[in-house]
């Protein structure tokens, strides 16, 4: 079982976490026209890299949503970043 770092709670077992999304995806501004291709890319296209990846995960018990950097090949955890920039 992997261990992931929650920015709020520290190192916890994998089963307490849920994958949420690929990090860095920007939701198109839907008040402006968005092409089918751009919307489909936002909805469905994933980089799914072999190796280092940045993902949004949720730590279920504390509900913290954060960015997890890990390696999909070696399963190494490379670090985490809170989404909030203002916490010390």
């Amino acid at each position: 079982m992997q261990q992931f770092p929650c920015p709020f709670c520290g190192l916890r077992d994998e089963r307490e976490f849920h994958f949420a999304a690929e990090a860095g995806k920007i939701r198109p501004d839907t008040t402006q026209p968005v092409s089918d291709a751009d919307w489909a890319a936002y909805l469905h296209n994933r980089k799914n890299p072999k190796g280092e990846t940045r993902e949004v995960w949720i730590h279920t018990p504390c509900a913290e949503v954060f960015i997890l950097k890990r390696d999909t090949l070696s399963m190494a955890v490379l670090g985490c970043e809170p989404l909030r920039k203002d916490i010390p």
Partner: protein
């Protein structure tokens, strides 16, 4: 009768004799014996039958590597199937029976199968029973297959304790190297955990029987043990590391004795040191499966641990110097010993009851043939963790190569067979230092099987894979080791090929004219030894695995005679007396419903309105305080995710009343949007569902009941879809006018702790109006009469809000909202989208039945009831272009039956909504 108990020696307690039976005959052994050692001491040679040909099998090894002796064991009325005789400690009164043999292992009726072995090569079953149809033969073959028999009884209290622990250094294997390493690390201040799968520490030191660093093995072991404990280290014996998992989590199974559940330890180790030793490797030669052919290490283990000699007249066929060292030990025990060099010519075992071995042109009389074809380091854990293996030509074995993070190997597991070398290596590695070069390598030349011989040479003793089968696999191009394994079932027996795999690889390499490293190995997967499934779940089953959510009024419901059932994870009253009667009572008078599971998620903060406008399909920002709005949440794909009502408390505070079974999912979705894409300081989400009880009073007489309740609300000016605060005695509460039944309804939400007195008062007043409690089933009927949907039942993974008749926000809402763009895709605009309709028919339609034109399904029935109010069947359905088909006749198909029905609007009762304010 060949094996015998030596006059002295062993770790057994000879003052404690134990009685047991095997295949119906009585024997005796001693405290400290295993079933296998006690049988061997009694001269029993045949302890099992092979899986395919039912050939007689003797014991090959003395621990987990033995593939042959597998018993169903009964003790005190409990039967455990498939116990390895070599690892099952003997207990007085045990009744053991060999599996896969009838009536006994010695006289097995199916032994006749072996005569047809020439007709049953590898792939025999695959090839033979495919025509005309496998299912014709399946029953018969399934009966023949399998090993032990389950007795069908649960063992009470068979529950694995679950431990979670950590350490700096986990040493796996308490032999010489493991003990030295554990002591060294513990004395250097590391938090050390040493585990050993035998009941006693010492590993191979007992069978080696030579002084260790000037001390007797027993004294040296005791000294290390004392030193480890004195330095704060911990030791677990009878404990097996069965797998290494992600991020250095090691699974340990701790044995607690026969028919007792082992404990599971999930250990997080900073470093893992693998001192797991090496296994005896068999020699492939003619008739090498005869009972009496044993592994040399196994025989020495029996001698050293249990005081049992495997035979009297022993030949040793080996390629290494361990045999030379073993000779005096066997001779001291009273055996006659002849050493044979396995590198010189092929051998052949003679006699069904072993009486000689032909080797190098000579016939040597013997009753027991011990073989040692080299050693195979136990590298399973290394491979679980993703470590690489290197081929070592000196010892002809795979040894640990590139190390996984935080893992190291030492001693025989690392191919270091000399004890002094192993000890210095272990001590260095324990402190994470480089190991000194080995001073005394123990060379072991590779033994290659005679692939030209037509004799029967066994590779896998349990699964009856012979050299001929490997040849056939090579001929038929199953040359990859993974294919070889699956085609021949090599290494798929309960021992998982611990001894057989290397012999199989050597044979395939020889046949392919390539080296063993070129041939490769199969994948090593946990568990290393069989473990019961109970180990993994422990107490996490039933209510402790997935606990029911309980209502604060559960006791009141039970007292009222409710039939309780699980609805969306909650234990709720399904009905109290009769569903139809409850519907009629609520429609004609008044009903009282416990709606506590309804979601109560508070959304607060200066950005709350903007936030809800974004996560809801409907516009929420325009909702006035004191008002309530029905709405949908969508996925980004535009699919309806949840429906519910939103009540605005004040400009910056809302309560979301989502579906009862969907609260956790909605909360998680809200949290995710809140933190990812919004300012989390300006909006807050708090799920308060568990803090509040909600009771619904519904029906034409709801208002008189409310009047009598006197909650301090203004009933005269109380419009539908608004809410007010009130109080019950001193308890503040909220009253909302929403309706899931179509009748006048009041939802009263108050703190859970006050639910019981309120229920008592409300029930009394409801009963005074000829009403009573109604269950969730009655409400399901009533909402279907009105065409109110249940998300996930009347919608599916393609349903968008306009399919349900809610199309205004899609056309008019200007603000961005989740799923907005998806509502204008090509798919969303298709004219044949499945839309919500009602169905009228003379008979009750099966839920899930298809609506068809010809043979094509154009929709499904999603909800179907006999309406107690209207006294005819009603149904809701999703139907292609359904909104434009009202009034059309349609065919409902179910299990070859066709039922006529008429498409209607999805509302059967009071379409204008007059009953809301009746």
């Amino acid at each position: 009768m060949t094996g015998f108990r030596t006059p002295q020696g062993g770790l057994i307690d000879r003052s404690k004799p134990l009685e047991f039976t095997f295949d119906g005959r009585s024997y005796s052994g001693f405290q400290g014996d295993t079933l296998a050692s006690a049988l061997l001491a009694n001269g029993v040679r045949i302890m099992g039958r092979s899986f395919k040909y039912h050939r007689p099998r003797g014991v090959w090894g003395a621990w987990f590597d033995d593939p042959n002796a597998i018993f169903d064991v009964t003790l005190n009325g409990r039967t455990l199937p498939n116990c390895a005789a070599t690892t099952t400690a003997l207990i007085d009164g045990m009744q053991a029976r060999a599996v896969n043999a009838f009536p006994t292992a010695k006289h097995d009726l199916k032994g006749v199968l072996d005569r047809f072995h020439a007709l049953m090569p590898a792939g025999f079953y695959y090839k033979t029973f495919i025509w005309p149809n496998w299912h014709l033969f399946e029953g018969m073959i399934r009966k023949m297959a399998g090993l032990g028999r389950l007795d069908g009884e649960l063992i009470a209290g068979y529950q694995s304790a679950q431990h979670h622990d950590r350490c700096d250094l986990l040493v796996v294997g308490g032999g010489g190297a493991g003990l030295a390493a554990a002591r060294h690390a513990a004395e250097a201040g590391q938090n050390v955990l040493l585990i050993e799968d035998h009941p006693a520490l010492g590993g191979g030191l007992f069978r080696r029987a030579l002084p260790v660093e000037g001390q007797s093995p027993a004294d040296w072991i005791a000294a290390q043990q004392a030193a480890i404990l004195a330095a704060g280290g911990r030791i677990l014996t009878g404990t097996t590391a069965f797998g290494v998992f992600d991020h250095n989590m090691v699974g340990l199974a701790q044995d607690h004795g026969f028919a007792k559940a082992p404990s599971l330890w999930r250990i997080r180790a900073r470093r893992i040191l693998m001192t797991t030793g090496a296994l005896e490797r068999p020699v492939t030669f003619a008739n090498n499966d005869r009972p009496g052919v044993m592994g040399l290490d196994g025989a020495l283990e029996y001698l050293a641990r249990y005081g049992v000699a495997a035979g009297r007249d022993i030949a040793v066929l080996s390629n290494n110097t361990f045999a030379t060292a073993a000779q005096p030990l066997l001779e001291q025990a009273g055996c006659k010993v002849t050493l044979l060099d396995a590198t010189r010519g092929p051998a052949k075992a003679i006699g069904k009851t072993l009486r000689a071995v032909d080797h190098n042109g000579q016939r040597i009389a013997c009753d027991t043939l011990l073989v040692s074809g080299g050693r195979t380091p136990v590298v399973h854990l290394w491979r679980h963790a993703g470590g690489k293996l290197d081929w070592n030509n000196t010892i002809s074995a795979f040894v640990p190569g590139h190390a996984p993070d935080g893992m190291a190997a030492a001693g025989a597991a690392n191919g270091t067979y000399d004890l002094d070398d192993a000890l210095s290596e272990a001590r260095a590695v324990a402190l994470n230092h480089a190991a000194p070069p080995a001073r005394k390598p123990v060379p072991m030349p590779l033994l290659q099987p005679d692939t030209n011989s037509n004799t029967r040479q066994w590779i896998d003793l349990q699964h009856d894979v012979t050299l001929k089968d490997i040849k056939l696999a090579a001929q038929e191009n199953y040359v990859s080791v993974e294919h070889l394994k699956r085609y021949t079932t090599l290494g798929m027996a309960p021992d998982q090929g611990k001894t057989a795999n290397m012999a199989g690889l050597a044979a395939m390499a020889q046949l392919q004219g390539q080296s063993i490293p070129e041939t490769g190995t199969t994948t090593f997967r946990p568990p290393f030894v069989p473990v019961p499934l109970e180990l993994y779940h422990g107490a996490r089953r039933g209510q402790l695995f997935n606990p029911l959510k309980r209502l604060p009024l559960e006791n009141r419901h039970r007292a009222a005679g409710a039939a309780l059932g699980e609805y969306g994870g909650w234990l709720r009253p399904a009905w109290y007396s009769d569903i139809d009667a409850e519907v009629r009572m609520a429609r004609n008078h008044v009903g009282l419903l416990d709606a506590t599971p309804l979601g109560k998620i508070e959304v607060m903060g200066p950005d709350a309105a903007k936030f809800l406008d974004f996560v809801y399909y409907n516009t929420i920002a325009t909702l006035k305080p004191g008002h309530i709005r029905y709405g949908f949440m969508l996925t980004e794909g535009g699919i309806v995710f949840d429906d519910g009502v939103v009540a605005r408390m004040d400009p910056n505070r809302f309560v979301i009343s989502c579906s009862s079974s969907h609260v956790a999912g909605v909360t998680a979705l809200l949290e995710s949007w809140r933190q990812d894409g919004n300012d989390p300081d300006r909006v807050f989400i708090h799920d308060t569902t568990a803090n509040w009880a909600t009771l619904t009073i519904t029906g034409p007489q709801a208002k008189p009941v409310m009047q009598a309740l006197d909650l301090g609300v203004d009933l005269a000016g109380f419009a539908h879809m608004t809410w007010q605060t009130g109080h019950f005695h001193d308890t503040p509460l909220r009253v909302a006018r929403v309706s899931f039944t179509g009748d006048t309804s009041f939802e009263i939400t108050l703190p859970s702790a006050q639910a019981e007195p309120f229920w008592d008062t409300a029930l009394q007043l409801v009963q005074a109006e000829n009403g009573g409690p109604i269950g969730i089933e009655a409400v399901s009927h009533m909402r279907a009469e009105k065409g109110f949907i249940i998300i996930g039942k009347d919608t599916d993974g393609e349903t968008m809000p306009h399919d349900l008749g809610f199309s205004i926000p899609r056309r008019k809402k200007r603000a961005a909202f989740v799923g907005d763009r998806s509502l204008h895709s090509e798919t969303a605009n298709r004219p044949d989208r499945r839309q919500l309709v009602g169905l009228r028919s003379d008979t009750l339609l099966p839920t899930g039945a298809h609506l068809v034109t010809g043979k094509r399904s154009i929709g499904t029935v999603t909800s179907s009831y006999h309406s107690p109010t209207l006294n005819h069947p009603i149904a809701l359905a999703l139907l292609e272009n359904g909104a434009n088909r009202h009034g059309e006749a349609i065919t409902v198909w179910h299990m070859d039956r066709e039922i006529p029905a008429t498409v209607t609007a999805p509302c059967f009762l009071d379409p204008k909504g007059d009953r809301l304010d009746a």
